[in-house]
């Protein structure tokens, strides 16, 4: 009996230790820093073209050994959320949707005005300074992660 109990204890300790080491190996490789959202009016309540839009910016870092890919984003603040990139073509700004965003291993991608942003289409409320916008971003490897972007 005593031996069997002892064996069980050893097994339990081993299982916990294994769990720890596994969770250690899975420390999130993706970091989300410096998130913020541009203030924006909801608009469109009177039928003036169907709602305002907003933009959320964040810097994504990848400490992992493998590249990861941002696949999609969702938020309660907007009807539709997309990834967009603006390019400056000799002073002419061209904003386009992008289907995914690759974050290289050991690298980072900085979203900023005139570059990449998370596009909020059809705001469900005004984005006012002092508010916070919650966005869930889903990565191929890291899975879903939530960021909180203060409005300014």
């Amino acid at each position: 009996m005593h031996v069997r109990h002892w064996a069980r204890l050893v097994t339990a300790v081993a299982v916990v230790a294994l769990g720890w080491s596994l969770s250690g190996a899975q420390t999130p490789a993706i970091g989300l820093d410096g998130a913020w959202a541009r203030r924006a009016p909801m608009s469109g309540m009177g039928g003036h073209g169907g709602g305002g839009n907003g933009a959320v910016y964040v810097t994504i870092s990848n400490a992992g050994a493998e590249p990861d890919t941002l696949l999609s984003a969702t938020s309660d603040a907007a009807r539709t959320v997309e990834l967009h990139e603006t390019t400056n073509d000799g002073g002419v700004m061209r904003m386009r949707p992008i289907q995914k965003l690759i974050v290289p291993a050991g690298g980072r991608v900085e979203m900023k005005p005139g570059g990449m942003h998370i596009m909020l289409l059809g705001l469900t409320h005004d984005l006012k300074p002092g508010d916070t916008v919650k966005v869930t971003v889903t990565f191929d490897r890291a899975g879903p992660m939530t960021l909180e972007a203060p409005v300014r």
């Binding site: 305002g52 949707p97 005005p113 596009m119």
Partner: protein, 184 residues
């Protein structure tokens, strides 16, 4: 077709923005403000006027320009009385005066947003050399997007079109150039 030479700052030209040479009178226009009033550019003599083009559907570049010009106004202090910032829509289809009002007021009460008939707005863009191209783009819920010029055009107190500020120019440099024009 109007062609300007945009020169980098040269001898005697201590401006930070792109200097338009030869300077000439800014093409005049009459458009409708967000409050439904008529506004004529030539009625703003005595002010430095910053003119930008954009649309309220744009959450990225246009708000950045408006936010920067709001900071510029704040930095001008009492001289802000002699500064006017105009935002001319490139999207009259969606940008009604109420929508323009809501949009610019989110950034600053000091802005004047302008709209007008599609033809009149096209004439203004042509006179200033502004590009605006409507695009139906796959892969977005947006019905259409508009590619457009991001320069801010600066008119001096005498009504001459003097400078173009490129996207990303610092607030310090913009304030510097506007103060210089106010001194002359």
């Amino acid at each position: 077709m109007v062609v300007w030479l945009v020169a980098a700052p040269v001898q005697g030209a201590e401006f930070k923005g792109g200097l338009l040479t030869p300077s000439r009178m800014a093409p005049d226009f009459a458009l409708t403000t967000q409050d439904g009033k008529d506004l004529r550019l030539s009625g703003l003599r005595g002010h430095v006027v910053a003119i930008s083009f954009g649309y309220t559907f744009c959450p990225d570049v246009c708000p950045m320009t408006l936010a920067e010009l709001t900071q510029v106004r704040g930095r001008l202090g009492t001289d802000a009385r002699r500064f006017e910032a105009l935002f001319i829509t490139v999207d009259p289809e969606r940008d009604t005066p109420p929508r323009l009002r809501e949009y610019v007021n989110a950034f600053s009460r000091g802005f004047t947003a302008l709209t007008g008939s599609a033809g009149r707005l096209a004439d203004v863009r042509k006179a200033y050399g502004v590009v605006a191209e409507k695009r139906v783009v796959p892969g977005t819920a947006a019905a259409y997007l508009i590619d457009h010029s991001s320069f801010v055009y600066i008119v001096d107190p005498a009504g001459q079109l003097r400078l173009m500020f490129p996207f990303g120019m610092s607030i310090d440099d913009m304030v510097h150039d506007i103060r210089l024009l106010m001194q002359r």
